[in-house]
């Protein structure tokens, strides 16, 4: 069954339902950036759209808003690479650096590029040695790893992404009794 079937059911606790329905409610809603400038936020959205291309979804799982919100509130996840500056600084430098790569490779802003070219920019970043002055200061591999991990975790926390991978673990009431190989509860099977 999918999140649509399971969320209203008695298999989901109130606290779990509250967290997931909130995430769904924010999906597709207009978002005004709180921390990044509008054009920088659009750049982050464009980068996130290549990290998680969602061509099949009319409304994509929102990825950039959670990052912007976190930076605005100054929340951290408990640690950062000592080689990177504080998160706010790292994101504004790193996004500026992505624009530098786009300019160096294609003499255009990232958002103006074809998707294939955008992917080339991200490949250059992921390689750890992209062109651009920013990357003389900011370690490209660490920045890319941090940004990718954050956006990936935002994506897979969304009920639609969990449907995509067949995950139903949030529907854990009253218990899981079939936990061995090839065993599943009726609520873990696709709806006929």
């Amino acid at each position: 069954m999918t999140s649509q079937d399971l969320l209203p059911s008695a298999h989901v606790s109130a606290a779990t339902r509250a967290a997931l329905t909130q995430r769904l409610a924010e999906t597709g809603a207009a978002y005004t950036p709180q921390f990044l400038a509008p054009e920088t936020f659009r750049l982050l959205e464009a980068v996130a759209a290549r990290l998680f291309p969602q061509p099949e979804r009319p409304v994509p799982i929102p990825l950039a808003p959670s990052v912007d919100q976190r930076l605005a509130e100054g929340r951290a996840d408990g640690w950062r690479y000592d080689a990177l500056p504080p998160d706010r600084e790292a994101y504004r430098l790193g996004l500026g650096g992505i624009q530098e790569i786009a300019q160096a490779l294609f003499q255009a802003d990232f958002e103006q590029l074809e998707t294939g070219q955008q992917d080339d920019v991200i490949k250059a970043l992921a390689s750890g040695t992209p062109p651009g002055a920013v990357w003389q200061e900011l370690p490209a591999d660490r920045f890319f790893e941090e940004m990718l991990a954050e956006i990936t975790e935002i994506y897979y926390a969304h009920p639609w992404a969990q449907d995509e991978i067949g995950y139903t673990g949030y529907a854990d009431l009253p218990a899981w009794t079939k936990i061995g190989l090839n065993e599943k509860e009726p609520r873990e099977s696709p709806v006929e």
Partner: protein
């Protein structure tokens, strides 16, 4: 530096980094301008009225602080516990959702330096009444006796000033009290007078696959000891606790009290015997009298500063906050060992894709164990490791795929679609102390205007060799079990050793009873006092040390 103008243009609301200039900070404070966002606090607690001098203050309510708190309260002492985080109601508050459970981790930033920077946050830290046990995996094997004398056996690392026999009675007591489910008899180590109080938890898919693979490569396995209930259990001070429902969310908080975290075991016992628990209480200063003895602790609770006088202090903040408090207060530093000897367990994981449906989020995550690799015959390294099957939650797994496989775009989505067919296996290995691995205070300030800790960690030759041995072993097991697309993820878990115990104040911070050599009424109990890392998960041993520290203290004051 890059073009500053472009960087500034990227900001809608430019935010100052932590203000370093003390004068400017004062000016801002006088004008009541907040410097940084406060960590959100849950459920404000009532502010305590000023009290008299208490017998003992315990700082930190994880595996180090909670057992001794109960013991001291049971002895009739007036004890107060200061815990930085809130007191939760898991049944009502804990969601089966990883992001919603982020509040379980110590989210103030720590700086991770060195060649193998240690991931903190959800990997390695905790906050709240119960500390890291609120999200530990509950994997509770005992160390084997030779874990405690690695230096005598191999000439490297450090011996404990205690033997296995000193700790064994405490292991038995704790396993019985908190309710550990495990195999009787246990296949490795010395014979035990009593078995585990409950049968092992049921094996999930990953555990079944490890049984299959390990059999083929000739490795013995066993259902693992886990501090979660395989049946209803009567808990002194609590009443009946319910059995595990196989949610598999141990690392994001247990919602039904089946996992034996401190908040459902030692803490209610302590409360029953009169312990005063003060959540959301963040310690800022430790005061000493003219004799150098600790006289009081200053802490903030709900934005108010309190000062509580005490006769004895038990510092149990974990191996980051404990040395940080010592360093900030210039306390017990004469050995030069505070912050040094930082160790972290090699926790290399190997993942694979199986034709069968695995659904790795269900069941106790660490269902199976093998200690056949405790002292491998063909080892080219000191010490050894244990093998463990691992379950995983989807968000944690996806982050590891991103970091470990560097996948992104469509390939990442395609790989993650196999989630229900993926299973993992990992090690927990011993680690040797090294001069380049240590904790220090950085110049950067956190949200509370205190210096952030910086952790330097670079795995050395011994860890590299152990990882290589383990990776080959685990790849063999997974291939034998039928896995394809096998990959490994390098990780280090548990920060250990930053205020170690020893026989002499020349090279240790506390003695074998947990008492600071420099400060007679200061005791330390958490994984910072471990002289060596051990080749097992630390929680059970921290609890054992905690009870022993309390007993030795009580003997000394009687």
């Amino acid at each position: 530096m890059p073009d500053e103008e472009i960087a500034e243009e990227g900001l809608l609301t430019p935010t100052e980094p932590a203000i370093q200039d003390p004068l400017l900070r004062e000016l801002l404070a006088e004008n009541d301008i907040p410097l940084t966002a406060e960590t959100p606090r849950e459920r404000p607690q009532p502010t305590p009225a000023p009290t008299e001098t208490v017998d003992c203050i315990v700082i930190g309510l994880g595996a180090g602080g909670a057992p001794l708190l109960a013991r001291l309260a049971q002895a009739g002492l007036k004890v107060v516990a200061l815990e930085a985080g809130p007191w939760h109601n898991p049944e009502k508050d804990f969601a089966t959702d990883e992001r919603a459970q982020d509040f379980l981790f110590w989210n103030d930033e720590r700086l991770a330096a060195g060649g193998d920077p240690l991931a903190m946050g959800k990997n390695n830290s905790g906050t709240g009444v119960g500390g890291s046990t609120l999200h530990y995996t509950a994997y509770t094997p005992r160390p084997l006796p030779d874990d405690l004398h690695i230096k005598s056996d191999f000439g490297v690392g450090e011996d404990w000033p205690l033997t296995y026999d000193d700790l064994a009675p405490y292991y038995s007591e704790i396993e019985r009290f908190i309710g550990v489910s495990g195999p009787t008899p246990y296949p490795w180590g010395p014979a035990r007078a009593t078995g585990y109080p409950m049968a092992p938890l049921p094996l999930n898919s990953a555990a079944q696959l490890m049984v299959r693979g390990a059999e083929k490569v000739g490795i013995r396995t066993s259902p693992a000891p886990n501090a979660a209930l395989s049946a209803r259990y009567f808990q002194e001070g609590v009443g009946w606790r319910e059995a595990c429902t196989n949610r598999g969310f141990c690392q994001a908080g247990c919602s039904n009290g089946a996992k034996s975290s401190m908040d459902v075991t030692f803490i209610p016992l302590a409360v029953k015997h009169g312990a005063d628990i003060r959540p959301n209480s963040y310690v800022t200063e430790i005061e000493r009298n003219e004799r150098g003895h600790i006289s009081a602790v200053v802490y903030t609770q709900n934005g108010q500063t309190h000062r509580l006088a005490c006769k004895n202090l038990f510092l149990c903040g974990g191996s980051v906050e404990t040395p940080r408090i010592l360093l900030l207060n210039e306390l017990a530093l004469s050995s030069g060992q505070v912050g040094r000897n930082l160790m972290a367990h090699p926790g290399l994981q190997v993942w694979g894709t199986f034709p069968e449906e695995v659904r790795p989020n269900k069941g106790i995550p660490g269902g199976l164990i093998s200690q056949d690799t405790h002292r491998p015959k063909d080892a080219d390294f000191a010490g050894g490791y244990l093998l463990q099957s691992i379950g995983v939650m989807p968000v944690t797994f996806s982050g590891q795929v991103a970091r470990g496989r560097k996948m992104w775009g469509q390939p990442l989505r395609d790989y993650m679609r196999q989630f229900n067919h993926i299973a993992g296996i990992n090690i927990l290995g011993d680690c040797l102390p090294h001069a380049s691995n240590y904790l220090e205070l950085s110049e950067e300030l956190d949200g509370k205007q205190l210096q952030k800790p910086r952790l330097h960690f670079t795995a050395q030759e011994n860890e590299h060799r152990m990882n290589a041995h383990a990776e080959k072993m685990m790849r063999d097991i997974w291939a034998a079990a039928g896995a394809t697309d096998i990959w490994s993820f390098q990780r280090y878990a548990h920060v250990i050793g930053t205020a170690r115990m020893g026989l002499s104040g020349d090279d240790a911070v506390v003695n074998r009873d947990g008492r600071a050599f420099d400060v007679p009424n200061l005791y330390i109990c958490d994984n910072s006092v471990f002289p060596s890392a051990l080749s097992v998960n630390p929680a059970l041993t921290i609890m054992a040390l905690s009870l022993r520290t309390a007993d030795k203290f009580l003997e000394s004051v009687q």
